[in-house]
Assembly symmetry: none
Amino acid sequence: MEREELFRKVSIENDKKIVLLVLDGLGGLPLKGKTELETARTPNLDLLAAESELGLSHPIAPGITPGSGPAHLSLFGYDPLKYEIGRGILEALGVGITVGKRDVAVRGNFATLENGLISDRRAGRIATEKNREIIAYLNKKIKKIEDVEISLTSGEEHRFVLLLTGDGLSDQLTDADPEVTGRPVMYAQAKNESAAKTTRIINLFIDRLTAELADFHPANTCLLRGYALYPAIPHLKELFKLKTAAIAVYPMYKGLAQLVGMEILATGRTIEDQINTLKKHYTDYDFFFVHIKKTDSYGEDGNFAGKVSVIEEFDRFLPAVLEMLPDVLVITGDHSTPALLKGHSWHPNPVLFKAALQRQSVEPAAKFSEKECAKGILGNFNAMEVLPMMMANALKFKKYGA
Amino acid sequence: MEREELFRKVSIENDKKIVLLVLDGLGGLPLKGKTELETARTPNLDLLAAESELGLSHPIAPGITPGSGPAHLSLFGYDPLKYEIGRGILEALGVGITVGKRDVAVRGNFATLENGLISDRRAGRIATEKNREIIAYLNKKIKKIEDVEISLTSGEEHRFVLLLTGDGLSDQLTDADPEVTGRPVMYAQAKNESAAKTTRIINLFIDRLTAELADFHPANTCLLRGYALYPAIPHLKELFKLKTAAIAVYPMYKGLAQLVGMEILATGRTIEDQINTLKKHYTDYDFFFVHIKKTDSYGEDGNFAGKVSVIEEFDRFLPAVLEMLPDVLVITGDHSTPALLKGHSWHPNPVLFKAALQRQSVEPAAKFSEKECAKGILGNFNAMEVLPMMMANALKFKKYGA
């Protein structure tokens, strides 16, 4: 039996509340002997850790460093190697586009064409403001090709997202990107017959865009790649009978939450705002995903002290969460982002699991830290097991088999 | 390679003895700070724990609460999501029926028919004694339908098991159960062509039974559901070259052991009787499954002290097991049954693993308990790995690959 079938079989509804607090990139590595989490003064987290179950979770598998997409799918209970989210979809989510079932999302670059050859694959990294102007112009000029709606959204610098909306679209075509300079515009090719229409539209789009941008040097053509259809992921409602809501600030995470069927709650940008949003909607849902981004941002920047300060800020608002008395509370990361590495890493996530029906460890944890989690009674496990464990502790799973 | 193929490849026979002692529903949750296992005075278990490998095992997967069927399959080395045992088979095992390869087992309820409508789906929960009388009568009256043998066995109150024995039978038919009262008798329907014969037999049986019971109000008709064919599970002999025996008191567990090819040894009902049975047959087999039921029964009743007392009773007879010097000894549960929950739970099983070729932990365990098992060197693992680990420690697995 597939795990999805198992979950469908055993899930039941009740009014217990589950809160999943994700500090993006939470796990770290020691600098001067202490990780970011160990360095942070977190009296509230430490008290909570002493009466919680702790463990370490692998987002995908030991040794694998995940992007945000697979890392979050895993936290939402999905096998991230089974459900893949195409790069174009992630890019679209990242710029805040809502993607639907008739859409193909494509990553675009503005590029420079000189004497019939691509001379710069990033159009001199034009300013984001300039990008916005060009996109606004193009959206007026190119609204439809055949029966397919065309919609463009600016990213940073030379990047944009192209959304095709129509029937019979496919993602089975090759990149329209020569990958090196000094070559002419590269057109897409269909990988199989079903992609003939999409390939034709894509190539007509490249020609239309290039014609419209004749006077826009250095942004006078484009490269397209990472075509992605809307992923067929069963919603949390269907798998777990959960009424779910997401409290996230950044478009990518709202988008990921939407893909699994969460409602996106409007919220302010600070951690305090996000906790207030949780409080405001606390009676309306039975599962909340709260996504705190800045731990990861500072980690990516190599800003150890910045990451420490976000963890400390979160700690100050933890009592406000505890006051709501969630039946099950998990505090974890989606992946580790050690400031030392200035990027995501494969190190497993610290996991704090607080629920009524839990077991105790021989020695209560002295602190919420990677080390204490490594000693924790949950052991090392796969992050996709977090959601089933939350369901069990909320008594939302009935017995399997007799 | 499937794990079954791996096991077949590496298993070898030798005369080492493996003993798997299962205290059903052993794991618990703390009441006044201590679980059942922690509360029990278990000097012998505690001494043994100090020189054993400890760990925690998930019967199915983290968060999943199993029934006895899947939980035992897992302990016997099988993936419980791959091998499913139908509800009718479990019911048949529970009332002590031996099920074979030409059988379909079906769960039955006596029900009440009034003016052509089902007025009570449980026939007023007739006394078990009455049930036995009716079943004895019916077994005389209905012995065969077409070429299919019919055999009925009483369960508790209104429940019985119908066993069909014949060729070309199927379990692909719908429940003959209206599920609500106020409707006429519901006949089964074939889900596909292969079930035409079984469906015809089942519906003829309902009519025959209803005719025979015309004067037996309130038990004057029946509902049938949970059709199950004999499950196609490879025997332990075939997978592991083991000569296996089960020492169990309750029919369900004898039945489960039989499904995987164990011989069932006649035994008295007390733990002492069971250990004596082990001693008596110790030279005749190389793998013994000893099933102690009452830990689970008391857990299900919410009787914390009762569960504690069974663990203490077991502890008193542990030295008698150790005197036999088994080469590999495992003491564990099939699932947890915390008295606090009055039912099975998802909490992993404490596992004590004693063998000659084992490693040591930094600190020997102070006690056999869930906490100490959480610190144990075996870590958290899947219960279906227990049997392969026993095989290895008994030197019954040769090298895989060159």
